[in-house]
């Protein structure tokens, strides 16, 4: 019977109950392994982490573990290092996203039209994306090191620096080290995404516009930019969140130093957990970071609604 029903492709109402159940369960069976893994390795620790924020959890202290209410948050409100990390996060994220976007957009525009050797050029300029982040960080730290790196000597020769020092140990300039490494590493991401959006713009629009007498600047402003705008907006928003969480480069290059001048919130959380082994305090900071990122995302959603309703 089962066999016959399937063979003749009868409507669903006629298929036996057993097969209907099997069909209904299929999507859940396909997605169950992934879902179980995500829940146990990401969601459960997330909830646990939230509870740690209200507990005294220190890895090396067996007597810790008690609930202490809002004590961590009171400590956090007085923690000058945290406020500095918050300011540094804004600076790190803003500068990184800005330069990655500007240079990525220019690169995408340069690669948009076919030219001889474009495939090779594309592979070479996108290569930094494939470099592991720890290696990108170490590599740039070495470039900034006057013992083996050329950059301090070049800056000195150009008269920008008074002597060839390592900018990573200069409290005023140290943040530029990870930012430059991050820009180098992140330009391909913006370029790849924007290039894909550029290539999706119908070519005849440009032809029609130039027949109507529009110059290159006008074509860019009235065709390219409006078409790119949604991609630009989404990419920048997502990258902002991602980069503000991205601590690898800072941990590798400066470890937050000198004198906490390059400590961002994400690296501060990691330092608390990894160096001090104070899991409770680390989780409290993480909870604040999560709340800030949620607020930021909400702001974006509201802004988008408002912009849409205005049109």
């Amino acid at each position: 019977m089962d066999h016959v029903a399937r063979q003749s492709g009868l409507p669903a109402g006629r298929t036996p109950l057993k097969k209907r159940i099997a069909d209904g369960a299929a999507p859940y069976l396909y997605s169950a392994p992934a879902l179980i893994l995500i829940v146990t390795v990401m969601l459960v620790p997330l909830v646990l982490g939230v509870s740690y924020a209200f507990r005294d959890i220190q890895l090396l202290n067996p007597f810790s573990g008690a609930y202490i209410g809002l004590d961590h948050f009171r400590a956090l409100a007085e923690d000058q290092a945290f406020y500095r990390a918050l300011r540094n996060t804004l600076w790190w994220t803003g500068a990184s996203v800005f330069f990655q976007f500007v240079f990525g957009l220019i690169l995408a525009l340069l690669l948009d039209k076919p030219f001889y050797g474009r495939g090779l050029a594309q592979a070479l300029v996108f290569l930094p994306w494939a470099v592991p982040s720890f290696l990108a960080g170490l590599n740039w730290a070495w470039l900034f090191n006057p013992v083996v790196g050329p950059l301090p000597h070049w800056l000195y020769a150009l008269g920008i620096m008074s002597e060839p020092n390592n900018i990573l140990s200069d409290p005023q300039l140290a943040m530029w080290g990870p930012i430059i490494a991050n820009v180098w590493w992140g330009i391909p991401f913006f370029a790849i995404t924007l290039l894909a959006a550029l290539q999706a713009i119908p070519r005849d629009l440009y032809e029609a516009a130039s027949i109507d007498g529009a110059g290159p600047v006008q074509r860019f402003l009235s065709i390219t930019l409006p078409f790119l705008a949604p991609t630009i907006a989404i990419t920048i928003l997502l990258r902002t969140v991602w980069i503000s969480n991205f601590a690898d480069l800072i941990i590798v290059m400066t470890n937050g130093g000198p004198a906490d001048r390059t400590q961002i919130v994400a690296s501060y959380i990691f330092t608390q957990a990894f160096k001090r082994l104070d899991f409770g305090y680390a989780s409290a900071i993480a909870l604040v970071l999560l709340a800030l990122l949620l607020a930021y995302s909400m702001l974006i959603v509201i802004l988008r609604q408002w912009l849409l309703s205005k049109d």
């Binding site: 299929a26 893994l37 991205f246 680390a282 990122l293």
Partner: protein, 277 residues
């Protein structure tokens, strides 16, 4: 009229060259210091290429350091993560691509959420969970964690590949009497091979680069992955730049190989929300 396009072309090519130079220079410098013998490193200053190149640092790193072990550990972790994630993600990606089911919206929302929140906040709880299970300082523990982190994005990636394959194919097979799972395994999966290769590549590179969790979870030298080994090497023997950079070049090799493999799929991977930016 001819002069302006020529000028534009030269400007365009030089801009491209400037970008290539900026992209490659750090890697070039890494290689340059790696092949500079120690006696020339300090005496010759910042020459673009040493007067005498040698492979002595590579020789030392490969034969007298723990880097081959780190390299092997990283290969094991990244390779197993890539294989497991790709299997799980092709199942769940297929579910998202072919079925409409109750709770699908929540599944997608959960997976998107995992791409947005700061993973660093899981460092402490995951350590606390894995430690009594004996999964800290173990490559297995690392594989479990990396697999979970990479499954959501790989699911979206596989879904985009499945979406590109017409539904009629498995419908035809099912009319011929095959169950949907047989149709999936024998007809759809072989057609998605390029997508599977791309997913393997993306996950491998992401796992190969991961730093914070391997720092936190691994403490012993014999279980250390490449980033952990390299960083502890940097803090211990920070004088020997040649050896460190030779090790750095080694870490770069698999990343570059996989980059070649996935180059064609970069756009698809990045729009699926690649974990590794």
């Amino acid at each position: 009229m001819r002069a302006k396009p020529l000028f534009l072309m030269i400007a365009h090519r030089s801009a491209i060259l400037a970008y290539i130079a900026f992209a490659l220079f750090p890697l070039y410098w890494l290689l340059k210091v790696a092949v500079t013998p120690n006696d020339l490193l300090y005496s010759e200053g910042i020459r673009m290429w040493p007067s005498r190149a040698s492979l002595e640092h590579f020789d030392f790193v490969l034969r007298h350091s723990a880097f081959p072990v780190f390299f092997k550990n990283s290969l094991i972790v990244s390779g197993s993560t890539a294989v497991i994630v790709t299997i799980l993600a092709s199942l769940s990606g297929y579910a998202l691509s072919r079925f409409n089911f109750r709770g699908k919206y929540w599944l997608v929302a959960l997976m998107l959420l995992t791409q947005m929140f700061p993973l660093v906040m899981l460092v402490a709880p995951i350590f606390k969970i894995l430690s009594p299970l004996g999964l800290t300082n173990s490559l297995t523990g690392l594989v479990i964690v990396y697999t979970a982190f990479n499954v959501p994005f790989a699911t979206f990636l596989m879904q985009s590949f499945f979406d590109g394959i017409p539904k009629d194919l498995e419908e035809a097979a099912m009319i011929d009497g095959a169950t949907q799972f047989v149709a999936f395994r024998q007809i759809i999966l072989p057609l998605t091979l390029p997508g599977i290769a791309a997913t393997l590549g993306f996950v491998f590179t992401a796992a190969w680069s991961e730093l914070l969790f391997s720092l936190m979870l691994i403490s012993g030298n014999d279980q250390a992955t490449f980033p952990v080994g390299l960083l502890s090497f940097v803090s211990k023997f920070s004088v020997d730049f040649g050896q460190m950079m030779a090790a750095g070049v080694l870490a770069l090799i698999p990343a570059c190989l996989f980059f070649l493999l996935i180059q064609r799929y970069l756009v698809q991977g990045l729009t699926a929300g690649a974990v590794k930016g």
